[in-house]
Symmetry: C2
DNA sequence: GTGAAAGCGCTAACAA
DNA sequence: TTGTTAGCGCTTTCAC
């Protein structure tokens, strides 16, 4: 079944059918009516592969994320997909499970499908697949790589503002020794988060102790083991910041399993503010990174790059903001 | 950049390039080598739209889900995508936000992309888009519609076994008046769940009181309002089953906000066993529906239908199983 | 083992 | 306002 069949049914040419399908206004209404009827009768759906092949544009953006079971990402996806649907665009999603090889695989998928751009929210990035994108003139918008270039924009996560708020908040609560559980070792994005922590400590006249800085893996389990290590330091720190909420939840669990009470015995601050943060016991104090703002920014960045493929990319930025809930309190005097 | 360019670079014909790309074994190794080199040098990625157009098969399955922020679905998606990547297939995901119009839109997306099959986990289903799939010979595997036909399989969720376990568990804990918070009004899938509850009550010699059966909406907020209603019935039931974990969490929150303790004052049982269920306070007793088993079943069903497009679909089934945690306890004597 | 060429279903000049 | 037609990039038969 193709537009020629529809053309025969409607007694017109395939070009007219094409025009009707694409809503061009240079078709006589009565003719268009007939075509619409024929399409409906035949339950015809035009083959997008042919359209894309012909037009050289797929009206599709790719989205690559590390881990869909981290609630941050579904919340982002929902916003992103919503924008795409509204603009009559398609989304092609791939997850990487934190493996560089899966990033490569995902980018390959995007390239062979001829997406009009890629939003890359994963951090296990190797330069080779990125070069493939650039070389093939597929715009790329990355998250917090702090690197831009022709066809390459970036959305910086502005930790510093939020991180400063967080440390100020803790300092006011009399915390002095503050621990930090980071992301995976390797990705620069983890480094940015850690540096922002150290910087904020310094700016507030506190010393970031190396012994109290541990890597995690952005998952609960990583938060658990890192927190176990932090608790074995005697005396342990009175507060801990985590690189994301999942990590903070892991830390929370370990703490509670050891019969320590949060926030009385130890304060915990997360990062992201996933919906879940609010329903924990205690509800999590966290640095909020707005998913809808982020989705909007990524979309805008993609559109901008697409409109002018030869233009150089821009550095965008997304704010973080402290949300105070129940997991922080005055430091226990030791 | 196309295979003809590669052909020139490698000094062969485009047919040979195509053969090499597709790993056919009727190319002299040295020739294949040269082609591979040319492809790498040019960073060439074949245009999948052309391939699909030509072959008439996309090696892609569509996946339609209602709500990606319900953790059940990301957990499902991760398993499903993993299977797909392993088999060198592609996944095209769409969410419906519980709107029938979005289901229609999603199915249209799938049809114009010529997916080889659709896994439909949403329940806001209208017959029209489904007929479009059938008519265009695109296999469909639905969840718990309990309807099969040519090119149409279904995965039944076997509530009865788990629901029976749940009621037996509560009965042993001396609960007699048990409430139920269902899914959205309308979808048959909600009816199945509710019927299974009523049936299980009856089978265990308990009476399902209509007053204690309320609709929810598969989201936390729905669980909250339904639970508020249930608590206004005096005396309130001593236990409540929810149509999914999110609903149960909503119920849990309302209960705790009213200074009632779970499970001492009231027992709550969820459905799904999302990862989160285990980290709540108290950890949620729930009916487990395995995401990985479900993903495997959906994939198998799609492959079977695709292998024999003219064959009639099958009824598959997925088990549910009671997981006892901390949200159920002996009923308070009233 | 390799190449020539037809055609998958659509769009967009161009012509009428 | 409508039709004719040349491709978009690939696969695959058929011929060599």
């Amino acid at each position: 079944m193709d537009i020629c069949d529809i053309a025969k049914l409607a007694g017109v040419s395939s070009a007219t059918v094409s025009r009707v399908i694409n809503g061009m206004n240079n078709v006589k209404p009565s003719t268009a009516d007939g075509v619409h009827r024929a399409i409906a009768e035949a339950k015809f759906y035009p083959n997008n592969n042919a359209t894309t092949l012909k037009r050289g544009k797929s009206l599709t953006y790719g989205l690559i994320i590390p881990d869909i079971t981290n609630p941050f990402f579904p919340e982002f996806i929902r916003n992103f997909e919503h924008i795409m649907v509204e603009r009559n665009r398609d989304m092609l999603m791939a997850t990487t499970a934190f493996h560089a090889s899966r990033v490569q695989q995902s980018i390959r998928r995007m390239l062979i499908r001829r997406v009009d751009g890629v939003a890359l929210l994963a951090s296990e990035i190797e330069t080779e697949p990125i070069e493939a994108l650039i070389h093939n003139r597929v715009p790329l918008v990355s998250m917090d790589r702090r690197l831009t270039g022709p066809g390459l924009s970036d959305v910086l996560i502005d930790y510093s503002s939020g991180m400063d708020e967080a440390i100020k908040h803790l300092k006011k609560l009399k915390h002095r020794r503050i621990g930090y559980i980071g992301g995976s070792v390797g990705p620069t994005i983890s480094d940015h988060r850690r540096s922002a922590f150290i910087e904020a400590m310094k700016n507030n006249g506190l010393k970031a102790e190396l012994e109290l800085i541990r890597p995690g893996n952005y998952r609960m389990q990583g938060g658990e083991s890192a927190m176990a290590e932090l608790l074995s330091v005697k005396p342990h720190s009175t507060a801990v910041l985590a690189a994301n909420d999942l990590t903070a939840i892991g830390a929370l669990r370990v703490t509670q399993n050891r019969s320590l009470t949060v926030p009385q015995d130890i304060s915990i601050i997360g990062f992201d503010d996933i919906d879940l943060a609010d329903i924990l016991q205690p509800p999590l104090t966290t640095l909020r990174l707005s998913r809808s703002a982020l989705a909007t920014t990524f979309f805008k960045a993609l559109e901008a790059l697409q409109a002018e493929p030869h233009s150089s990319g821009r550095q965008y930025s997304a704010e973080t903001k402290l949300v105070i809930r129940g997991s922080t309190a005055v430091a226990r005097t030791q």
